[in-house]
């Protein structure tokens, strides 16, 4: 009986002198995360088209589309980008799968402590890993305006050639141009 009980300690002794990693002193030592890790989202703001697919698929409704300055006005007409409430997010990754241009990814960063609930709502400025500089945005906006003007011209030319119908469309375009 005693011998048997001692036999039970076999494992204890074996493990006691082996270098087994049981606990780590986080945050000094972070465990190694795989490439597939589903951590905090990373947004490529230069690619996002602001379609809102990610916001629609999210089962917890934690994505809100908010305005943000440093995206690409050529692709993202309204200049809205996802802002994610990590107090609700469960890191399921459905939003990532749904994104049509694959600009939303999940990275290896998993640390997100904060003092307030609002600290957990990370807007595009926090989650975007790639964005345009103000100069680039200005250039892109210039480009957008130029394109809009060209379109307007083309529409006007068309309107002249055709009947009165496209006049309404032309007016609408003008408004849209004014907004952007």
């Amino acid at each position: 009986m005693v011998l048997n009980i001692l036999k039970g300690y076999k494992m204890t002794f074996k493990t006691a002198f082996k270098d087994v990693e049981v606990t780590r002193t986080f945050p000094e030592f972070m465990m190694e995360l795989p490439a597939n890790e589903r951590g905090i989202h990373e947004l490529d703001a230069t690619v996002c088209i602001g379609c809102g697919s990610c916001a629609r698929i999210c089962p917890n409704n934690c994505i809100e589309m908010v305005p943000f300055k440093y995206g690409n006005p050529l692709k993202n007409k309204k200049m809205v980008f996802p802002s994610i409430d990590f107090g609700r997010c469960m890191f399921c990754g459905l939003c990532v799968d749904e994104c049509p241009v694959s600009c939303l990814k999940m990275g290896k960063n998993v640390v997100m402590a904060g003092w307030l609930r609002d600290d957990l709502i990370l807007g595009p400025d926090k989650i975007s890993v790639k964005r345009h500089t103000p100069q680039e945005v200005a250039a892109l906006e210039e480009e957008a305006r130029r394109l809009a003007a060209e379109k307007k011209k083309a529409a006007a030319a068309k309107a002249k050639a055709g009947d009165k119908k496209p006049a309404g469309a032309k007016k609408k375009k003008e408004e849209a141009g004014g907004e952007s």
Binding site: N4, I5, T12, V22, P34, I57
Partner: protein, 569 residues
């Protein structure tokens, strides 16, 4: 072996005119709609003449458009054949009532109680139609019905009424407004004895008392109330109260799109999230009529088996610690091993526990680079360690004293009670969904269904440890055989199955996990019913604990490897 169409013709000739509709889905799936007056006779015929000795559960469906309620009874067989027959009965919606199957199958009890409290379907001849998962104040609201408008929020502090009684004590209660009562949102209280009254009715003499084990207790993590009526050290009767963490996942899934539903299956039981994903996605795949590509099937097998290994390691380790294995503490070691298995799973899915990995017609992503080498390394380690655990517990005198011959369940009892998973297989019944239903790549793989003759608590742990070894073997085969190719079948962006229904079972670490999904052609499931494995096993606690010593409760109940979260859903 008979096939589903043989069963159908046997039914038609035995009960001419009573089989209203029928559909042979495959050789092993039969759907029949029968006359509800004949339900008992038909079930008895199937049980006694056709070998359907396994009652696997039932589900209610509210067909509001047709003004009908449906009850679907799922019946299968332990050893005679692998056919599952789904028997449907219809009943008018304003006064739904169907015969209870409890006289034929003891384990129909909980399933029918649940259908009663959720849909208000009366089961004629049911011995104890009391609420199971819901709190007393929700009984009568029938929350699973399609016209349920939601329960008014009675938890808010603003509406609390303060009352001071004659002796000066202040009490608070949350009052209901008259409009709520008038509008029918608040049900009239249905009269039935409370849980407390029911258990106290069994006290016969001064020497007996009721001992509360729970809701927090040393049997398993996860709240449930186990009350035992003891006379000295012997348990005379046990009472179970569940539903402490009822989340209403089935109803939530009806309000989400098919794709969004996957994430809720994760949260039913975090130790088995892959097999829950699998069961749900499998059912929807049947509705959609797609099969995942071969590589995806292998990946799903690998993930499911890894998940089985980690679940068994945690379950066994935790249980051995609670049992007080004196000489060593296996929990710590098993957790260290499990860490590697979980990391392996994480490298595939990206999450450690809630994987959301299986998709309709495939998986979310392919295996990462270098997975095979890493997996082989970990599998080798798991195999060695598991052999060592087996050695250790074989030699541990304290463990043997507490486990050998404790809580013996005979094979016949195990089948009659409707146990499933490792506890059933420990009672000499090799019943495993991976064998019964040819799903995924399992038919191409070589594996044994582990079973034991003894049927005691020790056998149940042995089955789990041996299953770990078997899973290691399966994964190694998969790594050798896995073909190249795509991992996702092309599907339309919006998933809208044709109207219909499907039932799909997988082998969860705890046993038979089935999903019954009904589609009405929209982008959301019309009804999702989860036939959970531990629900079936849990139900058997009350008869099993009768007559045992109080000290053995942990050994018996713990050796079942409980997951309360999945019971309550």
């Amino acid at each position: 072996m008979p096939s589903a169409s043989d069963i159908l013709s046997a039914l038609q000739s035995a009960f001419p005119g009573s089989i209203q509709e029928s559909r042979v889905e495959s050789d092993s799936r039969l759907w029949v709609t029968v006359d509800q007056k004949k339900l008992l006779e038909i079930a008895k015929f199937l049980r006694d003449k056709q070998g359907f000795d396994h009652y696997s559960g039932s589900a209610g469906v509210d067909r509001m458009a047709d003004n009908l309620m449906e009850v679907v009874e799922i019946m299968a067989s332990y050893a005679n054949h692998n056919i599952v027959v789904m028997i449907k009965v219809k009943t008018p919606r304003d006064a739904p009532s169907v015969p209870s199957l409890v006289p034929l199958f003891w384990n129909a009890n909980w399933y029918e109680r649940e259908s009663w409290e959720m849909f208000g379907i009366n089961f004629e001849g049911h011995p104890e139609l009391y609420p199971l998962l819901l709190g007393d104040d929700l009984v009568g609201a029938w929350p699973w019905r399609k016209d349920f408008k939601g329960y008014p929020d009675t938890t808010t502090g603003k509406r609390t009424v303060e009352r001071v009684d004659a002796s000066g004590l202040t009490s608070y209660r949350i009052g209901l407004t008259d409009e709520q009562v008038d509008s029918g949102q608040i049900p009239q209280r249905i009269e039935y004895p409370t849980f407390r009254e029911r258990e106290e009715a069994h006290i016969e003499s001064e020497s007996e008392m009721i001992l509360h084990l729970g809701p927090q207790h040393a049997i398993v993590p996860g709240p449930f109330l186990l009350d035992v009526l003891v006379d000295g050290e012997r348990i005379k009767k046990a009472f179970l109260d569940v539903g402490y963490i009822h989340k209403g996942i089935e109803k939530i899934m009806e309000n989400r799109t098919y794709l969004q539903g996957i994430v809720y299956t994760d949260r039913m039981c975090y130790l088995a999230s892959i097999s829950n994903n699998e069961a749900y996605c499998g059912a929807v795949e049947r509705l959609l009529g797609v099969t995942p590509p071969e590589r995806a099937q292998y990946i799903r097998v690998i993930a499911a088996e890894l998940s089985r290994i980690q679940s068994h390691l945690l379950g066994t380790g935790e249980f051995l610690t609670l049992l007080g294995s004196a000489t060593y503490s296996p929990f710590q070691y098993m957790i260290i091993d499990r860490e590697d298995v979980i990391s392996l799973l994480e490298s595939i899915t990206g999450a450690r526990i809630t994987h959301t990995f299986v998709r309709f017609g495939g998986v979310r992503n392919d295996l990462p680079d270098g997975f095979a080498e890493q997996a082989r390394k970990v599998m080798k380690m798991v195999r060695e360690k598991t052999m060592e655990y087996k050695d250790l517990i074989a030699a541990d005198p304290i463990y043997r004293k507490r486990m050998d011959g404790i809580g013996v369940i005979s094979p016949q009892d195990a089948r009659d009670l409707g146990l499933c998973g490792p506890p059933l297989r420990a009672s000499d019944t090799p019943y495993d969904m991976r064998r019964e239903d040819p799903i995924l790549a399992y038919p191409d793989l070589d594996f044994k269904v582990i079973s034991r003759k003894e049927g005691d608590s020790a056998a149940r742990v042995d089955v789990r440890l041996d299953e770990i070894l078997e899973s290691v073997y399966i994964i190694e085969q998969c790594l050798d055989q896995i073909p190249e190719g795509p991992v996702q079948e092309k599907l339309p962006k919006k998933i809208k199955p044709e109207p219909g229904e499907a039932y799909y079972r997988t082998e969860d670490p705890r046993g038979e996990m089935g999903f019954y999904v009904v589609s009405d052609g929209s982008d959301k499931p019309y009804r999702v019913k989860v036939r959970g494995p531990f629900y079936a096993t849990f139900q058997t606690f009350t008869p099993l604990l009768e007559g045992v010593y109080l000290a053995d409760v942990v050994a018996i109940a713990g050796s079942m490897d409980a997951c309360t979260s999945e019971v309550d859903r």
